[in-house]
Symmetry: C2
Subunit: 676 residues, 2 copies
């Protein structure tokens, strides 16, 4: 048997074995996509299985992540640290082969997390943006230091998702010629034939985006056509490429071409039938002919050589461009420039009131020139998010004359979901810290991807302005209520709601340092005073005593714009001889990570706590005995009117605090910090 055929048949028999053993998973896509995966990995993808982190590797993304057995099998065959035992523990607790590919969770060769449909192709756009940018930044004549392709396989499900549409439209605009996507056009989705609800002309659509589009009619066995198409795609350098590949899902199964083979094990009799059909012994499980291992071993060796050659190139580059090389290495090591903290502005209470989005702009103006790894932009709210620093150049294809690939300011367009998924891809590439911006409320549009930032430990900054009813007249459609609770409930993400300039600086500092989790910077539209007692360093603790009084009768804890409200409330209480402590809590998650001793030094035993935050009170019962917030939707009006309408003014809160103090007159409030 020809090696190509044998290799493809190996994938097509091994994949169902893996699914069968797990008694769970998706055999159909691996069997249908085996030829394109084989062609990609054997003829095109340059990567070193022994060093999956080599920066100039070609990237591969399986956007239809439910077909991950395909990817695991390929990684295994190529000699990545993914053994037959790993394949055999597919979908088991603690294995390297989880139910969908997870980046940064110990599986080598997984670039970005996929499974939630559409994310992979959108993140692939981010990988391609990163490549284009770093190439423009670092490459020198004769030194193509950064020079890799991004390959992506995606299916019908991805093709229906909005995040895919957003990302593909932007990729076309950006003329990302080194992005090559193979569309597994198998006409089957979970509900049945795509005729049920997906009858658009995908090729025409991608042409409308400005992609180079090809069609491979027989993706089940026409290796030459697949090879030729990918070669042709590589030759088109100013357009991303889509290759629509007609395949048969579950090719070889007795139910091939039907939805039955999509998401459940084939069953032993069908597997035996498949093996017989492909010339394999029906009785032998997990069978990889040595010829196939040998073949892929040679592919892997080529990848190893490629890296070795690249390393030599890099050494020569370093000799000739020592500063560039040092910067490249620093950034790959995720090390910030030493002086970042010194660049951050600090403020005195006598400084004028400023909106935290504006203070954020000041930080960006200070750090962006010194932090070349910072790249990002806004979902068409630049003038509102204030994310474009002075002197920023747009990331644009040179032909547009609007910028260049050297530019670091990305015009994402009104595409919040793709923005977040693209940031994931940029972060996954390495050597870059991406950020995306929109109104805080519209993080809800992007949540599918933001969640994957957190799950995949991507270092992404989300700069979210207009963070509450404080945005005023735009009204409840734009005013976050549940949003921060949602973000706080999400694991592995830091949510900062700074109260003034020092806290904005501190929030940036911690966000930039936290390279294994994303951060959300939640910023006001309206001006806020500079507070006495705030500092950059205090932000590290998550919450701290901003203003104290001896033997306080009550503690007011607040975040962001409500901290100054807490200060005003404390003043009002003081005028009535009631001592109140004010706690600023810019980052709930960091406070939770502090020692119980520290936490108890902030929330004193025996002193009742009032929380103040101009959004849902949901969750605040963790720290507070009484919560002040907004548990309905907001309203449209000037923001001061809204604060009054929702009772977020000193006299109303002071009255509530007094009621709380009276309530606990005869007994101690429960200590919220004590952990059982």
């Amino acid at each position: 048997m020809a090696t190509d055929t044998l290799a493809i048949n190996t994938i097509r028999t091994l994949a169902p074995d893996v699914v069968q053993k797990a008694n769970s998973g998706h055999p159909g896509a691996p069997m249908g996509c085996a030829p394109m995966a084989h062609v990609l990995f054997s003829r095109f993808i340059s990567a070193n299985p022994q060093n999956p982190h080599w920066i100039n590797r070609d990237r591969f993304v399986l956007s239809n992540g439910h077909g991950c057995v395909l990817q695991y099998v390929m990684l295994h065959l190529l000699g990545y640290d993914l053994s037959m035992e790993d394949l055999q523990s597919f979908r088991q607790v603690g294995s390297k082969t989880p139910g969908h590919p997870e980046a940064n969770h110990g599986t080598p060769g997984i670039e970005v997390t996929t499974g939630p449909l559409g994310q992979g192709i959108a993140s692939a756009v981010g990988l391609a943006i990163a490549e284009a940018h770093l190439a423009a930044e670092f490459n020198q004549p004769g030194f193509d230091l950064v020079d890799n392709y991004t390959y992506c396989i995606l299916g019908d499900g991805c093709m229906q998702e909005g995040v895919q549409a957003e990302a593909a439209s932007l990729a076309g605009h950006l003329q990302l010629g080194k992005l090559i996507a193979l569309y597994d056009d198998n006409h089957i989705q979970i509900d049945g034939d795509t005729a049920l609800g997906f009858t658009e002309n995908v090729r025409l659509r991608y042409e409308s985006y400005g992609w180079h589009v090809q069609f491979v009619e027989n993706g089940d066995s026409d290796i030459a056509a697949l090879t030729n198409a990918i070669e042709a795609a590589k030759k088109v350098t100013d357009k991303p490429s889509l290759i629509q590949v007609r395949t048969t899902i579950g090719y070889g199964s007795k139910n091939e071409g039907e939805e039955k083979v999509h998401g459940a094990p084939l069953g032993e009799p069908d597997i035996a039938q498949v093996k017989t059909k492909f010339g394999f012994s029906p009785d032998q499980k997990f069978n990889v002919p040595q010829q196939v291992y040998d073949f892929y071993g040679k592919v892997a060796a080529k990848g190893k050589d490629a890296e070795a050659q690249w390393n030599q190139l890099f050494d020569r580059y370093a000799a000739q461009f020592p500063q560039l090389a040092a910067d490249f290495k620093r950034r790959l090591a995720k090390k910030l420039p030493d002086n970042i903290k010194d660049l951050l502005p600090t403020y005195k209470p006598s400084d004028p009131p400023v909106a935290t989005r504006k203070l954020s702009e000041t930080v960006l103006n200070k750090i962006a020139p010194q932090l070349p790894e910072l790249i990002g932009g806004s979902a068409d709210l630049t003038g509102s998010n204030l994310t474009r620093w002075k002197g920023a150049e747009d990331f644009q294809p040179p032909s547009t004359k609007l910028g260049s690939y050297k530019g670091r300011y990305i015009r994402f367009g009104v595409r919040e979901h793709a923005m977040a998924a693209i940031c994931n891809g940029i972060s996954a590439y390495g050597a870059l810290i991406p950020f995306g911006a929109t109104f805080f409320n519209f993080i809800s549009y992007a949540l599918g991807a933001v969640r994957l930032s957190a799950l995949s430990k991507h270092h992404v900054l989300y700069i979210m302005t207009h963070d509450s009813i404080g945005l005023g007249e735009d009204g409840p459609t734009h005013q976050p209520i549940e949003t921060l609770a949602c973000m706080r409930a999400m694991p592995n993400i830091l949510n900062f709601r700074p109260a003034d300039g020092n806290e904005v600086s501190g929030s940036y500092l911690v966000s930039l340092e936290a390279h294994d989790r994303p951060s959300v910077l939640i910023l006001t539209r309206q001006n806020l005073p500079q507070l006495a007692g705030s500092s950059i360093e205090a932000v590290r603790k998550g919450a701290y005593v901003l203003e104290d009084a001896p033997n306080p009768s009550v503690i007011l804890v607040a975040t962001g714009s409500e901290v100054s409200l807490a200060v005003d409330t404390a003043a009002q209480l003081a005028s009535e001889n009631i001592a109140a402590r004010v706690v600023s809590m810019p980052c709930w998650e960091l406070f939770e990570e502090q020692s119980v001793e520290y936490q108890q030094s902030v929330f004193l035993d025996g002193v009742p706590v009032v929380s103040i935050e101009a959004m849902s009170t949901f969750g605040w019962q963790k720290w507070a005995h009484l919560t002040c917030g907004i548990d309905t939707f907001g309203a449209s009006g000037p923001y001061k009117d809204l604060y009054k309408k929702f009772g977020l003014v000193p006299d109303v809160i002071a009255a509530k605090a007094k009621k709380l103090i009276a309530f606990y007159k005869d007994r101690k409030p429960e200590n919220k910090i004590q952990r059982i």
Copy 2:
């Protein structure tokens, strides 16, 4: 001046006055879209301003909702209950003219909430689906009872959003010939020229979806071209229509055609200049020539006549088809069939364990045939969500031979966000109760629209299966953690996580009755036992004592799949002579609406509470002294292994409960119900 011109100029001068008075808002879109709005409202839209609820009115959706002054001005000119004073209190607290159009908040003529971009066009698809379905269901030869068009204006922002792309693709498949969208192609978005990041060929894209596409080159003044295009669109009955209309944003302003006019008042000098240019007195504010009022008065009178004629048609229809007419009226009145509750299955503890998604299927099988207003489907997870009842017909264009417009099962495709926005549109139409289904985790893809379900008081059911780590092998990409906290923090939405068959039936009952808010039904993949003590009626209370013990030492509160775990834990504690009460809490929001007395009868004073829920513990501190849950991401593995891994097994929880009891040995735990 010709009346058309005068009317358009009136809009173009009145809109900036409104924005200027509010000192906030978006004048550019109203000025640019004035001609198309005038043509639509004067020549095409059939509606009665005196009865904005007339069911057969043409629907109009302003998807670029930030341009809402345009809509408010049109409603005012047409004589809707929206006075000049209302226009003058634009964006003020309590006004009928909020910053973006809000459905069901007192502004007549607003069909769906817009502002969050892309939502309007997607909900317009829902409005058109509703029309097509109801026409197929109710119309009889000679009786076109339901026969209206859905018109939508959308801008560049909407065109970039994924939700728009998803909905447009589905609309093309569904051949919704009575949906006509006008694309305000003004080349300007907030960041500047669309050349910055939106260079796709929109017309080609819509053609790829199967839409009928036209182009009007001069949308600033070519009334005839606009009229002809809309007339041509109406003639194409088997395709939705897109009319790309080239306009100048802020037409008339000295900054026309620039982003400056997009989102801020023009300023008095520019407004004076605009008025002079259009032949209006520069000094007169809020000027509507009587000729214009008269003109629109005649349009309104035609609309009133149209309704009167329709009412006569309906009377004749009722005489000939009394049962259909009665059903139509019942549904318009949002009255459920009397026997719905009797249809709901009940269960005994001796009945076998069943997954709640399967129990949901049983409910759907029982009620769907008796509840003709129920319409909906799944985002391509029918076999997993189990949402297709026996005998269901697909909602499909007849030419596909896969169903008909009479069908009530919608194949949404993998388009979660559009699904939710479409459900909003269907609900907004009236006489229908829509539902959408996917895995619970992927409600995050749809959140932008789900939030608008809640804000707009739409009666939508979200059937969300695979609700926790209990889904097992698919792993953390698919396992909700933060999701339920997010939903609970959202105002005006009911979240049900039923524990067994009776609670599933009860959750459906309350969801169907709650016609002014959406509900989320959160259902397991895995089997759950039928519990002793559960009932349909108990769900109404939100939480209730499922199993009691005399003088309990601890209360275990749980939801969904963890209620049986609580029962098992209580049994284990009982074996150690520790009395535990078990509280099932299928709906947090309903429990919050109960009297304090009832709440205190569930969570007894002096008894510590342990919460058990296989997801984020965020928020549970409101009720519980100790929380058992998962504050990291999940993992991939068989679900029983996962429950063990995350400590959600009786012995671990019992040990924690005992620690809690010991902790409160010498003092009373704080009463969580007492409200200050």
